[in-house]
């Protein structure tokens, strides 16, 4: 006897876009996506009377963005980025400089900080892009520490106090929906991006960069594009967080911004992008709930993570996708 996995008939029929001919099939395709979109959009209303948790929604979405960036770099380009904090820090400080020092309004400072932050991050990461291996991971891990110390030592950008007095969002709903909608846009945008020609080449770079070079493609240039896209997402998250807290300080370079996204990808399932976001939606609220346990929360957190790696190392999303698209039955061999 052998357990057999078979694609559902519905999946086979709906795979080709022309075969869709009933509401049920459209629902099968759209259902999970709509559920995610509607669920996220409804969150601020669900927590209408729990203002503390409404703040958590914002942070959760910011972490989801960082997790998407990590997942993209690690599983589609083959660059392990341990420096989510580098992106948030640069993005946050840029937003603060634009907003406080140059007096730009919030709807200009965030986009400008995102773009200039992404450029600066890409520039700093340039030297380690032609290489394979562990160099990129080490450099991305070191940069946040380096920038923290520089800001402390030279006492620039407000030193240890940081830059205060950033504009807040004009109203709380804008605050929630700005990040929720942007997170959804980036999520679905990235899913599309990795299946474009550029995305295909990037996946090739991950699998075998020599073969890609042999096809006449400049690998370093492709990696630059990838790092720019990822740091773009990360810097947006940083700029948003800075405006959310109305403050940009060295805690934007904190290790949390590097570690939690990685954990989210592990839990959600690497290489799915959605899984990364869902992992963040689980981990960030979990760590808030565990706050009640004080320092003991790290222990619980670690146990949850280890449990996931041992028992469901494929990740939630890959497991769910399989259950959704396939059924199992016993067959005789």
């Amino acid at each position: 006897m052998r357990k057999e996995r078979i694609d559902r008939g519905l999946k086979v029929r709906t795979e080709g876009i022309y075969a869709i001919n009933s509401a049920r099939e459209i629902l099968y395709l759209m259902g999970p996506r709509l559920l995610l979109i509607a669920g996220l959009l409804a969150l601020p209303f669900v927590f209408e009377f729990a203002p503390y948790w409404k703040r958590v929604i914002n942070i959760m979405c910011a972490y989801a963005l960082l997790a998407i960036a990590f997942d993209f770099l690690a599983n589609y380009v083959g660059l392990v980025c341990l420096g989510g904090a580098f992106f948030t820090g640069i993005g946050g400080y840029f937003a603060a400089i634009y907003n406080v020092n140059l007096g730009l309004p919030i709807y200009l400072s965030i986009p400008l900080a995102t773009v200039s932050g992404a450029l600066l991050c890409t520039f700093f990461l340039l030297p380690c892009l032609p290489l394979r291996g562990v160099y990129f991971a080490i450099v991305t891990l070191m940069y946040p520490l380096l920038f923290t110390r520089i800001i402390e030592a030279l006492d620039i950008f407000g030193g240890t106090n940081g830059i205060t007095g950033l504009d807040s969002f004009p109203n709380p709903y804008l605050e929630h929906y700005a990040i929720i909608i942007i997170a959804l846009v980036f999520l679905f945008g990235m899913r599309r991006f990795v299946n474009q020609d550029v995305g295909l080449v990037l996946r090739g770079v991950k699998d075998n960069d020599q073969s890609v070079k042999a096809s006449g493609i400049n690998v370093t240039r492709m990696r630059i594009i990838a790092v720019f896209v990822a740091s773009f997402i990360g810097c947006f998250a940083g700029a948003y967080i800075a405006h959310l807290y109305m403050w940009a300080g060295i805690s934007l370079f904190a290790l949390d911004f590097s570690i939690i996204p990685i954990a989210s990808v592990v839990i959600g399932g690497g290489g799915t992008l959605v899984g990364a976001a869902i992992g963040a939606f689980i981990l960030v609220p979990l760590s808030e709930i565990l706050r009640a346990f004080g320092t003991f929360r790290i222990v619980i957190y670690c146990i949850v993570l280890t449990g996931f790696i041992v028992f469901k190392s494929e990740g939630i999303m890959i497991y769910l996708q399989r259950k959704y698209h396939q059924f199992e039955r016993w067959v005789k061999v």
Binding site: R2, K3, R5, G269, S313, E314, G315, I318, R322, V333
Partner: protein, 248 residues
């Protein structure tokens, strides 16, 4: 002495090995021939136990489900559920396809890694034996494995497998990408291993002509099933075999 009984391997729903049974008596050379996708490598993985490792890794990753059926017996022991490293300890040693030598270790180090299971005296004897068998390796002992030519790498891979003092040696496509001259060296070496040490050898190959002279018994795989078996003479007389595997 060595017997694989009704082996059946599924990669998800695709059947890679269908009811294949092979036996190998002591001191015999068994040839397994088949085109690409015939299931030769899967057979080698199933026999050496590597398939159990691949299966576990795929499970962890949420990838393909691999189902393995059938039994493997060796020296009267049931090896079906035995892990690959314990199979190697028992004497079933695989020399994998595409050599898989350790490119950043020197030739001598590669050989030493192979002798991890044996006593130091046995390792010394094995080392001398391997260097006698493939004298070309002697000139490159200090060189990194990755810088050897393809043929030398193949000799090194076989040598590494021999260092573990195997009782059954599994050679997966040892002639892959070798020039005719090197093919001859490897084939003669294979025969010499059997003749001098009495090690049973199972060798897979796509192109039967160079291997055919040294085998005692052969199997022909097609799409995962064993379609034909017989002694060297029986296989050579078969017109289908001639056209498919000798290009006559």
């Amino acid at each position: 002495m060595f017997e694989a009984f009704e082996l059946m391997v599924f990669y998800e729903n695709m059947i890679a090995l269908n009811n294949v049974s092979i036996t190998c008596d002591e001191g015999k050379i068994i040839g397994i021939f088949g085109s690409n996708s015939a299931g030769k490598s899967t057979l080698m993985y199933a026999v050496s136990g590597i398939i159990l490792d691949i299966k576990r890794k795929e499970e962890m990753r949420g990838g393909e489900r691999i189902s393995v059926f059938g039994r493997v017996f060796f020296d009267g022991r049931d090896m079906t559920a035995v892990k690959p490293h314990n199979r190697a300890k028992a004497g079933i040693v695989l020399c994998p396809e595409r050599r898989r030598i350790f490119p950043e270790s020197s030739v001598l180090e590669n050989l030493k890694i192979g002798s991890y299971l044996t006593s130091s005296r046995e390792a010394k004897q094995n080392l001398e034996y391997v260097l006698d068998l493939f004298p070309r390796l002697k000139d490159h002992l200090k060189r990194q494995g990755g810088f050897l030519s393809g043929g030398e790498q193949q000799m090194l891979a076989i040598g590494r497998a021999l260092m573990a003092s195997p009782k059954v040696l599994l050679l997966d496509e040892p002639l892959l990408g070798l020039s005719p001259a090197y093919q001859e060296i490897v084939i003669n070496g294979t025969k010499a291993i059997r003749d001098s040490k009495g090690i049973s050898i199972i060798v897979t190959e796509q192109y039967a002509r160079p291997v055919m002279p040294i085998i005692d018994y052969g199997y022909i795989l097609e799409n995962g099933s064993s379609v034909l078996m017989g002694t060297k003479e029986e296989l050579l007389d078969n017109p289908d075999v001639k056209s498919a595997y000798f290009g006559v």
